[in-house]
Assembly symmetry: C2
Homo-oligomer: 285 residues x 2
């Protein structure tokens, strides 16, 4: 058995299993442990595999989008709380249109395993449902933005023009009393098409988004049916959105991860109090 053949076999084993233990590989390849280790080093240098303590991982197929890597823990907690509340407002059997963005991604994660029809322009969201047999998945096509992984452009918009969904879950870069704002010109057009395709429009946005404007106006507030936000939203804003005829859904913030990072001993449960996590069963069964 030659070196190249062995390495070829090795990467095949790793690829098929996704993960393989060292002893396992030694046995199947019939060579010494040292040789396997050295081979794994080589493969890791090539980027084909990634070593861990006790084994190897196949490194291929998992996308690393910049937007999802470094998210603030505090915002992440809010996003997650919002996602729980939003997922609760979606019933089984619905046809849901999911926008791109980190918050909608959190919503999508909670919807995995539910009996739904999902339409999305987001590649990360699509990946969540791709292997799920219980969820029908329709992906909008078009040019894929490298940073966010969403499909944009006239093709996506055109396809949206021919679809109708019961609920659209939309994200936003900023919200003022003028309406929703977004940072991407092409995405704004796509989101407008999403609005037109929807029977119910649900916007998910944490409280830090309020009062912020961004590049383009996507829509006015009265086009929105429901707005899901964390409980950090100031009272005047609550007034504003409710006067625009928007149903406001407030998600209780469980605990701030910031305090936990700064003082890990002090995260006692009295701050949490009662947070019964209303959707535990519905979302993550």
């Amino acid at each position: 058995m030659q070196t190249h053949e062995r390495r070829s076999k090795l990467i095949d084993l790793i690829r098929i299993r996704g993960f393989a233990g060292l002893e396992e590989l030694v046995k199947e390849l019939g060579v010494s442990e040292s040789t396997v280790r050295r081979d794994l080093d080589t493969l890791e240098e090539q980027g084909s595999a990634k070593r861990t303590h006790g084994g190897v991982l196949y490194s291929g197929g998992m996308p690393r989008l910049g937007e999802f890597d470094e998210r603030q823990p505090s915002h992440w907690a809010a996003k997650r709380a919002i996602a729980v509340r939003a997922a609760a407002a979606i019933a089984d059997g619905e046809t849901v249109l999911l926008d791109g963005g980190t918050t909608t991604y959190e919503v999508a994660r909670l919807l995995v395993g539910r009996s739904l029809q999902v339409v999305t322009n987001s590649l990360p969201v699509a990946n969540l449902f791709a292997s799920e047999a219980r969820t029908d998945l329709v992906l909008l096509g078009g040019y894929v933005s490298p940073r966010t992984g969403v499909c944009l452009g006239p093709y996506a918009n055109e396809l949206l023009g021919r679809l109708h969904v019961t609920t659209t879950v939309l994200s936003a870069a900023g919200i003022t009393q003028d309406g929703l704002f977004n940072a991407h010109l092409l995405l704004a057009e796509t989101e407008q098409a999403m609005l037109r395709a929807a029977g119910r429009v649900m916007v998910v946005a944490d409280s830090s988004k309020f009062g912020r404007k961004s590049l383009t106006l996507v829509s006015s507030l009265d086009a929105i049916d429901q707005l899901v936000c964390d409980d950090g939203l100031a009272a005047p804003w609550r007034e504003t959105v409710m006067q625009a005829g928007v149903e406001l859904l407030i998600a209780p913030l469980p605990v701030t991860d910031v305090s936990a990072a700064g003082d890990p001993r002090k995260q006692s449960a009295h701050l949490i109090s009662q947070q019964p996590n209303p959707l535990q069963k519905a979302g993550l069964a």
Copy 2:
């Protein structure tokens, strides 16, 4: 932070990353190592995750699609060799249309980082290029097939009708002198649209595919410009495809059991797995 909430977060982290190290989880959850270990024990008992030395693996519906899981490793060797040859035949700056399938996926892996425009209907392929700034990516939309992760249906076909690419890389379930065969009816229509969109049609198929028929005929042989295959392809087939006006590109298999078989001095090689290359038999069958 409640126990259940923490465990929920934990399984979410593991599910999304596929693998997570212990230290990593300790840091992100803000709890002690012992607690994480105990949680992982619990999750392992539930079957949600599988522990390894130094971390955890998610054991469930990953972005791991059924088609990519259990295939003969020997075929993968051929696929990779074919992919190398096919990728070499694609020049920088081209617009490449990539079909779904395991072989085209291998081609796609080798194209990552190249300066290209890529069009595809395959979710796994799209994931490879999604975070690549150097490659423009256009994704075809439509209904996503759960088993294979490719976009199908009239929307994909319609979008294809308006695109033109320099090269289409097509896969096949079977090849006879009648032409290319595929196992999915809807996919066949999509692939026919791909053929029409292409300036150059390149088919990637290992030698085991020859002589096999499948559900539907996709196209005749003369619609193909180039065919990339491993060197296990029998001579009669080479004649057939070349007479159809197809340029035949043969990828040499890196595996050479011939040298070992001719060497009488090999001492312990019989203990190691020495299997005759199945592909060469398949080509004759």
